[in-house]
């Protein structure tokens, strides 16, 4: 009896390890980041989605989330059928070129962070230009100090906490009404979900926008990436490459794909193909 119970526990636990962890909640944050200290008025902005399961979570850009949405994948299949009524064209595949997505503050970085609170691991997947890189490290504990201040965010009573991470001091607001010890980006470890956080210099902020429940038992907190096609690296090298890409995205991409024609897509203003240059780079993690 005891053995079988242990076995069941093992199964449950192994589920967490292999990330077959069903998504319970999707939380949308607006991420704002002063990437260029010379241009503080136009911070880098992106919508990020934190998908939380029992023992792990996935944090990624809204676009990546939407691109992998099950409903979209299904709709794509249906659309395929409708397209059959289109006229004849060619099957031969054509060579593609690299695309660089930019916004008014510079290049958009596609990023995904999977945190496992049980195995205490964090894995980061980042697309820089044409290549996707991954790195896995131990989940760094954050020493939070809780304060008695409260405020309402959405419909939730949140309490203030202050903690240090990556050379910055963050003020975070968590709610114990949602008892996940998780939060946006690499922030975690409070006795409730972090709904809002910003650093004391006001250069980085995560603002709660929406929350929704997921009822589909077949959606997991797994990484959207296939690590087979991604390049393993370490955090230090990744940060160097990330800086190079954010500062000179065109240069990095043409280094990655010599002779390929680079295509620039500006999501804020499609007709403007000029990339905003970063003059004084402000890394998210100062150390």
């Amino acid at each position: 009896m005891k053995i079988s119970a242990q076995f069941l526990a093992f199964l449950l636990f192994s589920n967490f390890i292999f990330s077959q962890d069903v998504v319970k909640l999707n939380v949308l944050y607006q991420f704002s980041y002063v990437r260029d200290l010379e241009n503080k008025d136009v911070p880098y902005k992106n919508n990020m989605i934190l998908s939380i399961g029992q023992g792990s979570s996935r944090y990624c850009t809204e676009k990546l989330f939407n691109d992998n949405d099950k409903k979209i994948l299904e709709a794509r299949k249906k659309e395929q059928e409708r397209l059959m009524s289109m006229p004849l064209a060619s099957i031969p595949t054509v060579a593609g070129g690299p695309m660089l997505t930019i916004g008014k503050s510079g290049p958009i970085v596609t990023e995904e962070i999977v945190k496992s609170s049980l195995s205490k691991k964090i894995s980061i997947e980042t697309i820089l230009g044409l290549k996707s890189y991954h790195t896995e490290t131990d989940l760094q504990e954050i020493e939070w100090a809780v304060f008695p201040e409260i405020k309402k965010i959405g419909n939730y009573d949140c309490q203030k906490a202050i903690g240090k991470f990556g050379g910055r001091t963050y003020e975070a607001w968590f709610t114990k009404e949602i008892p996940y010890q998780d939060g946006p980006w690499k922030l975690h470890g409070l006795p409730g979900l972090i709904l809002e956080a910003h650093d004391t210099a006001n250069e980085i902020s995560f603002i709660f926008k929406e929350i929704s429940k997921n009822d589909d038992p077949n959606i997991f907190t797994n990484s959207f990436f296939n690590s087979q096609f991604s390049i393993a690296t370490n955090l230090e090298d990744l940060n160097i490459a990330r800086k190079a890409f954010e500062v000179d995205p065109e240069g990095v991409m043409s280094a990655q794909a010599p002779n390929a024609r680079l295509y620039i897509r500006n999501i804020d203003n499609p007709s403007d193909k000029a990339v905003q240059k970063i003059k004084k780079y402000n890394p998210m993690e100062l150390k």
Partner: protein
Amino acid sequence: MKRSTLIPFLYLIATLLLSITPLCINAQTYSITGVVTDSAKQPLHGASVTILNDRSLVIGYTSSNQYGNFKLPYFNKGVWINVSYVGFKSQKIKLDSSITHYNIHLVTETKILEDIVVKNRPSVKINGDTSTFLVRNFSTNEDRTIGDVLKRLPSLEIAEDGTIYHNGKKIENLYLEGDDVMDGRYGMATKVIKKELIKSVEIISHHQPIKVLKDKVFTDNVALNLVLQNENSLKLSGTSQIGIGAPNQIEACISPIILSKRLKLVSRAAYNNAGIDYSKDAKQLGNSNFIDNISSKKNRIDLSLNSVSPPDIPLNYYYFNKSSNISSNIVYKTKSDIQFKWNVNLYSDINRFNYNGQTLAYLANDTILYSDKQLVFNKPLVFNSAFNLMINKTQYFLNNSLKLSMSHDAYNGSIDFNRNSFEQLLNKNDKQISNDFNWMPSIKNKGIVEFRIYSSYGVNDQHLNVLKDYYFDITPQNGYYDTVKQSINYPTWFHNAYVSYKIPSEKVLQEYKFGYKYLKEELKSNLSIIKGGNFFPYLNDNGNNAFFTNSTAYFSAHYQIKKQKFRSDIQLPVSLQLVKSIQPFYSINKLNQSLLVLPNLNFTYNFDNEKYLEATYQLQNNFGDISSSYEGAILLNYRSLQSYSQMFQQQKVHKANLVYSHQKSIKLFYSNFGISYDYTIANTMLSDSFSNNINNSIFIPKPNSRRSVLLYSGLSQYIFDLKAKVGLKIQHQFSFTEQLVNNTLLGFQIRNLNFNISIDKNISKILNLNYNANLIWLYIKHSNMTNLQFPSTKSFLFDQKFKLSFNIFKHYSIETVGTHRINQSTAFSKTGFFFLDANIKRLQIRKGMDMELNCFNLFNVKNYSILQQNKNIISTNIFPTRGISLFLKFIYSF
């Protein structure tokens, strides 16, 4: 101070004091422990354990470990201990100072996170594979044509040649309300269709247009569809363009258009003498037929007036033209979705081509110099027409396209050749008709069956007249004549039919094809000499009256296998070939039957994502056709006479290639190293005889081989500190080949060393620099098979190119391109040039009108020279270029 204001003030101070001091610093040394379990007494890992104060605020917290245990320091102000875990009911227990260990059992809660209100789903837009952009939302007042609007759409880009890219990937085709009106040549359509005619642009991903292939073949293709504003309107619209330039340049163009649901017409009439090449607009950008081209690759016998190849610089530098073009594309669709399409294109031109060259032919004990200076006028007239019928239904797919093309090309030239001046005339007529039928029935299982029948007939007629004062240097008829006349007539029939069966699968793709090909060619040629009104036949042979057929039955199996780190592509075609050559003039009646197995293998092994090794092997067995088996000599141009021996030309080629690619992409370093080896065994050898005025080449039966080894490497590094990319390519080729030169067997060792350096740097937001330099050394040495004194030749080329682009003002764009080259060889003096161009665009000068200013060749370089080296021949040619020119263009749409 009134009491009523004092209380909130004190309250504020108290709050501030509390805020400054984190609550947990009240922690004492002794602690609270406990274990969290579920109702089955199994430990719960990761439950939140918090200590709450009287206001239910968290003052201390931890989480349970894998055994369900937790440990918290004691808090003075702690009133409650709260344990929560998703999927379980939270437990809030009052702290008792006498208890230090708490056993907490959580009860499952069926309604998990019931209190979480679904406020708003993350904004997911479900639109499947089609993105629709309304033209009015994306266009601005400056936009004229739909091409201008397409440039503004996120994810789309239009290249200079008109090719559209979606997210950097070339689109498969551009449709107008679902119809491929332009037959894949959509470049013109984007330039002439004005934006008002189009309501929206649809970008369709994973485009699989053939209904029969539904759920069978998944594609990654992206297609663009332009949805009409008013599909029932038969109104005529279009654009017009006028350009004037100095010196004496003009361009005019008008494009009428009708777009409706059933009938679509896109047409254009244009004229220019400004070096604009209309054949560029007729470029195939999309694919007109969804299957690969199966017409035969023809080696043509081509008579010409000159012996030089065109310069390797853009055509507009040296193109002295007067071109006109009329093209029309019509599509009509019936109610039952049967589509008829008719594309017609008429092109005529008068152009002039001018060169001044010197050629040195090194012989065993001699060197011959040919000097040529010629002015050629060329008047081509080309007519192309295609008629297409298509039925695309779920039961079957049927496509039939009938193509007809006719061309007439007249040349006349006046030449100074080896100090002899004479005139030349050349007329070429070509007619081609072909029909391609394709049928794909729908079948129940996974496979795909395809039937295809292709037939073509063409006839080519060429007449070369080399007139008075030309010295005909062939014994025994050496001398000056009134006319030396070469004519050829060259009809060809070709049929190809096959049945194929394909089984798509993710891991192993199989394709089997069974077919039959038949090629029939005839060649009639005659070389004659006229003097004083009398015809003299060429004495060395009787000309040609040759028949050639090649019938081949083929079966091919094609497999693609993917297995983890290993990928392979294996093609195993087996064919039975019957070649027949009949040349009654020379009593030749030959037959050759052979079974050919020509494998094409490719294996790739990925060590990891950054390293792979690829090996390729290919065996080719090339049998010549009539163009390489004629016995009677043909005067290809005033300087060369060519014939073949009594033999089927056959070349067996082994090609092997090995590449290793290594990247360190996080450091932005990329490299590849490769070696390729070609080994050719041929049954005929080229025998060149050079005399003072002519080169007579004959392919004689003599087995020989050619070898070539190529070593190559490419390195690229992004320099983080300079924010610049530097690329370096090195290539070294060594080849060996043999041929007869004036009856002496010579072996040639050819060495070629090539360096390429490129630098890409973004100087600022508005300025971008691109620099590319090429260094080439070519060294040809005679391998010492006899004791002859034979000179070695060397040449050197240095080529650099830079491009600077500025985007200064909103409506202006400026681009500067410079090309610099130095050419040097053992035989000729150093040559070089520097071209500089600038292009300025100004949008929206008046409503509906744009302006563009092009400045070509700002340094007014008048000549371009090219140096070519090949075995024992080295030559230099000088071409006059269009001098400095300014061209102003106005574009207006109606």
